[in-house]
């Protein structure tokens, strides 16, 4: 749905741009293409790594790793799995839901969801290409620590 919206926006913009100034539109297309091909080699590496990661950390494996433990060890385990994996939300949220239904703790699921979205170990090489090593390390480690704070607050609000 949102992808479709993005396409409509891009194509609409392209048409208006073309109607207003052909030369500038050509320049825009060239710039977009160049930016894309410049980063494609790094993208290809990350996507191939994710392919391997998904194979060995299937939703089934993740469920076993995240669901079993409780307490702080459980949070630690789910935070690590959340940081390393990169699964789309439409897989992650129902997975967290089904684990909750099967008795997993709310804080464990919260830290899993939060690290999953904020911390990207596999995408770190790509982030580093754009932002440099220091930013990548800082943003990911701060987000990691912050995910625990989020989880504790969610535990207090939802668990109460």
């Amino acid at each position: 749905m949102f992808t479709l919206l993005l396409y409509l926006l891009a194509l609409g913009g392209l048409l208006i741009s073309f109607w207003k100034d052909r030369h500038k539109t050509r320049l825009a297309l060239m710039k977009g293409w160049k930016a894309f091909t410049n980063i494609l080699p790094d993208f290809a590496v990350v996507l191939a790594l994710i392919g391997i990661m998904l194979t060995y950390l299937s939703p089934h494996t993740i469920a076993a790793l995240v669901g079993k433990n409780s307490g702080f060890p459980g949070m630690l385990a789910s935070s690590i799995v959340g940081s390393v994996t990169l699964i789309p939300g439409f897989v992650a949220f129902p997975l967290a839901k089904s684990l909750l239904d099967r008795g997993a703790g709310i804080m464990q699921m919260a830290v899993f969801v939060s690290t999953l979205m904020m911390v990207g170990v596999v995408t770190a090489p790509l982030e580093s290409r754009y932002f440099g090593k220091k930013e990548t390390i800082l943003r990911n480690s701060l987000s990691y620590v912050f995910s625990f704070i989020v989880a504790i607050i969610i535990g207090m609000v939802v668990g109460a």
């Binding site: 894309f36 290809a44 949220f93 754009y130 932002f131 989020v150």
Partner: protein
Amino acid sequence: MKLLNLIKTYRYFLLIILFDVVIAFFHPGTGYTIFKYTAGNFAEMLSILPPIFLLLGLLDVWVPRETIIRYLGEGSGLKGIVLSIILGAAAAGPLYGAFPVAAVMAKKGTKYSNIIIFLCSWSTLKIPMFLFEMSALGIKFALTRWLVNIPGILAIAYIIDRLIGAENKAEFYRRQMANP
């Protein structure tokens, strides 16, 4: 010669694929799954990135640097912060889609902390994801996470902005400016 260059550019990717082939040779089932997922990842990327890069090209050509500086640059204040959050939250797609967008924002003069705010918002505040999270995990869970994230993102951006160092920051902007 051209082929050699291509191989050199994609050497790490080709190494991973070679690794996959070796796995497929010994464990055909696992190898098949890896290739299936890898192909799926490429399909997802190729469906999301073209409109993003197209919009970025148009933005680069049509939106003057002064406009971006006024709304997101140094001295944009609270307006810039709020706008960065909204831009990130309105996004769709995985975090890697945010990187090229942030690069063009930097090129056009967006303040460093606003770029980090945008990046963090994209990673965790996305509205489409929020709706999905709400339906799966409940409104209390999703809303609490969303609301706690906002001060968290501001704190993270502030800390990174202070710790990154002037040299790293300048290098980052220099690299984005060097892009055509």
